[in-house]
Structure formats: structure tokens, C-alpha cells
């Protein structure tokens, strides 16, 4: 909490001057301590961000002439049906993964909070989190493969007589498949975070509510959920941002070049930038993604004022 100046019974001017000197020196120390991270941030984040804004108003393939095109790249992206698909798929993925994923995580965490053998379950649910997204995608590719080659569809067909869709090839279903894989691989992280949040609730609080005659549902609604609402809020913000940035599982699980149903904004950025070398277009798409991220995060922060309970 900054420097605490000890109160000493000395004449008034001397400590004031000494404090002034300390503060001047402190400025230098602060600069020294901050230098690596701040310079790194400027070089590898702020500067590229500014560069992206400039690029977004240019037409450039990396080799030929650069030329200013004004808002053409944005206009081209916003009217491109491919980009429209990408935006819609990004939104769909977030709408599928965030509410379902976090609700499941909360249910598992509540169950674990009331049960013995917590350590064992925590480990099991967390295994996918420490597994690389590439390995996760490869595993699920084999499970979700079409027809008789995939264990899921062959089992559904043989045991239940249904003919399920080709999860990875059907443009209408692929985002559901991606959502399932995303939820599976991030569930454990949210469970562990929620569980830690639940364990910060003083048992006396829930007990007091129970003594006052509250049933389990009432305790959950009036004590437990409000108490962990800051954690839920934090996890929601993180989950939305990371779902907007999902790339690895999509790239490895399905190639969106072959299945438009899997094209997200992030994939569009990658495709335009690193496969088609349209750096201007790619930057424009990236900035639209940034705007969307900021907008959604802002809305969440506005909503939390009413929904989140902060107890100091």
C-alpha cells in the first residue's frame, strides 16, 4: 500500500523534504521495475494493435504495393456472406458453450462440495484441461467420425437404431460438435474454480439460514449463489472471451475450408491473413472481433452491477 511514513517528532520541514526525495527516487525505481513488462507490452501488444488499425485501412499482400482503401475492407467484410457466417458461428458457439458449460460446472461443483472423494473426482474432471487442445481434437475426431467409423455414431445406430448426423461434415451440426468438445475440455477448470469459490463460504452462513428454516433450494438461491456470484461473473467473462477466440480445436477437428459451418471470426482472420495474404482484410476482420469482444464484455460489466453480490 505504498510507503508509510513513520511519524517522528522532528521539525516539520525535514521529513517533508526527505519524503519528497524518496518520492522522486521512487519514480525511478517504479520505472525500472516496470520497464520489462511495459516495454514488452508496448512492443508486442500496443504497437501491433496500432499497426493492425493502420493495416485495416490498407490493401496489402505483404509483397506488393500498399494502398489506402479507407473503410473498404470493413465494408467488404461486413457484406461478405462468408464473414456473416463466421459472425453467426462465433455467436452460436458462445451461446452453446458458455451457459451450458458453466451450468454443468456449477452443478458438478455443488455436488462435489457435498460429497466425499472430492480429490478423485477433481482429478478426473480436470484431466482434459491439462491435455493439449490438439490431442483433444484428435481424440474426438475418432469418436465423432462418420458412419461406422466413429464409435459414437456406430453405437447410436446399432444400439438405438437412429441415424445420427455426420457431426464433423454436416454444416448444420459441426458447431454443436465443436461446442461439446469445448465444454468437455474446459469443464474441469470451471469446476475447480467454482469449488474453490464454494469453499470460501463460511459454513456458519449456510447453517444460520438453515436454522432460520430455509430448505436446500432456498439456501442455494439466497446464500450460496449470491456468495459465489463474483466467481461466476469472472468465469463468465473469461469463458465468453475464450469462446470468441477458440481456434485450436476448430482447426484440428474440422478444417473450416471444407466445412463452412465451422468458420468463425478467428478462423476468418487466420484464413485471410495466413492463407490468402490479404493483410488488410484480415486486420479488418480482427478489429471487428475486438469490437465484438469489447461490446459483450462491457454489457456483462453493466449487467453485473445488478446481478453480482460483493461482500467486503
Amino acid at each position: 500500500m505504498g510507503v508509510v511514513t513513520p511519524a517522528r517528532p522532528t521539525p516539520r520541514t525535514r521529513p517533508a523534504r526527505a519524503a519528497q526525495r524518496v518520492r522522486n527516487r521512487d519514480g525511478w525505481w517504479a520505472a525500472l521495475f516496470l520497464a520489462p513488462q511495459v516495454l514488452g507490452l508496448l512492443a508486442f501488444l500496443v504497437f501491433p494493435l496500432g499497426f493492425a488499425v493502420v493495416l485495416a485501412f490498407m490493401k496489402w499482400d505483404g509483397l506488393g504495393e500498399k494502398s489506402w482503401v479507407g473503410f473498404d475492407n470493413f465494408a467488404a467484410q461486413l457484406t461478405d456472406p462468408e464473414f456473416g457466417t463466421a459472425v453467426w458461428n462465433t455467436v452460436k458457439l458462445a451461446l452453446l458453450t458458455v451457459p451450458i458449460g458453466l451450468t454443468l460446472a456449477l452443478l458438478v461443483a455443488l455436488a462435489l462440495n457435498n460429497v466425499r472423494g472430492r480429490t478423485f473426482y477433481r482429478v478426473v474432471y480436470f484431466l482434459p484441461v491439462v491435455t493439449s487442445s490438439v490431442a483433444v481434437a484428435v481424440m474426438w475426431q475418432v469418436i465423432l467420425a462418420s458412419g461406422d467409423y466413429g464409435v459414437l455414431n456406430s453405437t447410436l445406430h446399432r444400439w438405438f437404431g437412429v441415424t445420427p448426423p455426420d457431426w464433423l461434415d454436416d454444416p448444420g451440426w459441426v458447431i454443436v460438435a465443436i461446442a461439446v468438445v469445448t465444454i468437455w475440455s474446459s469443464l474441469g477448470l470451471n469446476v475447480v474454480i467454482f469449488l474453490a469459490g464454494l469453499q470460501t463460504i463460511p459454513p456458519s452462513l449456510t447453517e444460520a439460514a438453515r436454522i432460520d428454516g430455509a430448505g436446500p433450494v432456498r439456501v442455494l438461491r439466497s446464500v450460496t449463489l449470491p456468495m459465489i456470484s463474483p466467481t461466476i461473473f469472472f468465469s463468465t467473462v473469461v469463458a465468453v472471451i475464450s469462446s470468441f477466440q477458440a481456434f485450436d480445436q476448430i482447426y484440428v477437428l474440422v478444417n473450416p475450408d471444407h466445412n463452412e459451418g465451422a468458420r468463425t471470426i478467428v478462423y476468418q482472420v487466420y484464413d485471410l491473413g495466413f492463407q490468402k495474404f490479404e493483410f488488410g482484410m484480415s486486420s479488418a476482420a480482427a478489429l471487428i472481433l475486438l469490437a465484438l469482444t469489447l461490446l459483450v464484455t462491457f454489457v456483462q460489466f453493466a449487467a453485473q452491477k445488478r446481478l453480482v453480490h460483493y461482500d467486503s
Partner: protein, 287 residues
Amino acid sequence: MAVIPASPGSRPGARRLGRIGLHAALAAGGLLMLFPFVWMLLTSFKGAHQMLNTPLDWLPNPWRAQNYPDAFGALPFAQAYWNSFYIAVLNVVLTLFTSAMAAYAFARIRFRGSGLLFGLFLATQMVPQQVTVVPLYLMLAELGWVDSHLALIVPGFVNPFAVFLLRQFIRAVPIELEEAARLDGAGRWTIFWRIVLPNVRPGLGALGIIVFLASWNGFFFPLIFLNSPELATVPLLVSQFAGQHGATDYGLTLAASAISVIPMMIAFLIGQRRILNSMAMSGLGGR
């Protein structure tokens, strides 16, 4: 603290039934979590011909362990392990050191614009890495760092989240320790190095685990910046392998995938308590 004490009026029979139900649900969920791993292992022992069998075989017949040496030999796995490992270690060291420094400045040094700068640090967290990746690529290409590990090591140390997390830890170190050291004539650097860092060791450990995992499992940056096979990290190698053999030989691909996963699994099982606590801590924002 796990068990809810029986409230007056609830019947013990109903409670036990409820608990059995909870266990059943958790176990069923656990099986769903484990199944992809089990299926990966089963598939990794199947021969190429078994992919074509209908109905699908659940068990390998015969068990073809040869997939493992084959997969290991087909790709420079040993090299990739080393690459992933040393990049992750450097990422951890550089990130911890520089972000602890910045965190100390934010937590304990008063300077003009401290709050604003910290706010800006936090705000940069919202910028998706894909937004800056094209300009970053052009920059690093200019420096000659594309297709080199420098592209992963150098920009990787910038980590506002790490600064945020360590600031929380440093603020919890009693200020009296620092004042006592100052009375003994210690300067800022000595205080940081001798007093503050040893006192935030749990935070550094937690952060180290998080940074290591993110670096080890990272895919997007290696995909963008690396081309040469001998520079590939483990996930990049597996994705290339799956791209080449995925549709033709599941057994081989899944053996490659298993080879990539098993060391991390073992490390996780050994250090699970610390890893899980680190993750929980970071999720609660260092509280």
C-alpha cells in the same frame, strides 16, 4: 466441511439416497470425462486394417503395440519434446521474473499514474491474440525471428494477467517486513529480491504452473511462426501428423497423440494437488 449437517426434520434415509444419487451422477460424468482417453488408448493399439471393420471393433485385435515405436520413429518426437520443454521453461522464468518486478511496482511503489497504468494493463487482457497476430508476424519477420523459437520466447513473457495475480500476492505480504528491512538500510532491489519474492513463493509456483501448461499446450503461435520440422513443438507435430495420417491410419495417429499426452498426464497426477490449487487460485483472481 463437506458434509451438510442433517437439518432438523430431514430424514436420514432420504439423505442417504440423495448422496448415492450424487455419487452415481458424478461417476457417470466422470466416465464421460475419461472415455475419450480410454478410446484413444484402445484405438492406438489397433492396426490400420481394423479401421475398416464393420461393425466397429471395440477392442484391438490383435493388440498392435508396434504403433508406438512407428509413430515415435515417423516424427522427430524427441526433438519436439525438448523444444516444447525448453521454450516452456524459458517462458516461465522470463514471465515470473519480469511480472513480479512490475507487480512489485504496482503494489508497493507510489508513482504518478500508477492506477491508470494498471488499468491499461488489465484492459489489454481483452485484446484477442488473433487481433495482433498479423502485425506481430510482419514485425517478427522483419527481425528475422519467423521460423525461430525466438518468436515464441520473446513476445511470450508479456503477461498482464501474471502482473495482476502477483500484485495480489505482494499486497498480502506484511508491510512491516519491508519497513524493517528499509531501517536496516536495504534498498528497493534488495527488498524485492530478499524480502518480497521469498514471501510470494506460493504465488510464483502457481503462476509458474499456469504459464508452463499454457506454453506446453499452446498451438496457435507455433502454427503461425514455425515451419521447419525440427523446430516443431509437440502439439504442432501431432497436428501435422493427424493431417497426414488422420484419415488413413487412426491407430498410428492416436499412438502419436497418446505419446504427446502421457508425460503431461503423469506430471499432473504427481502434482495434482498443487496444480489444481493453482488453477483455483487464478480463477478467483488470487484471493
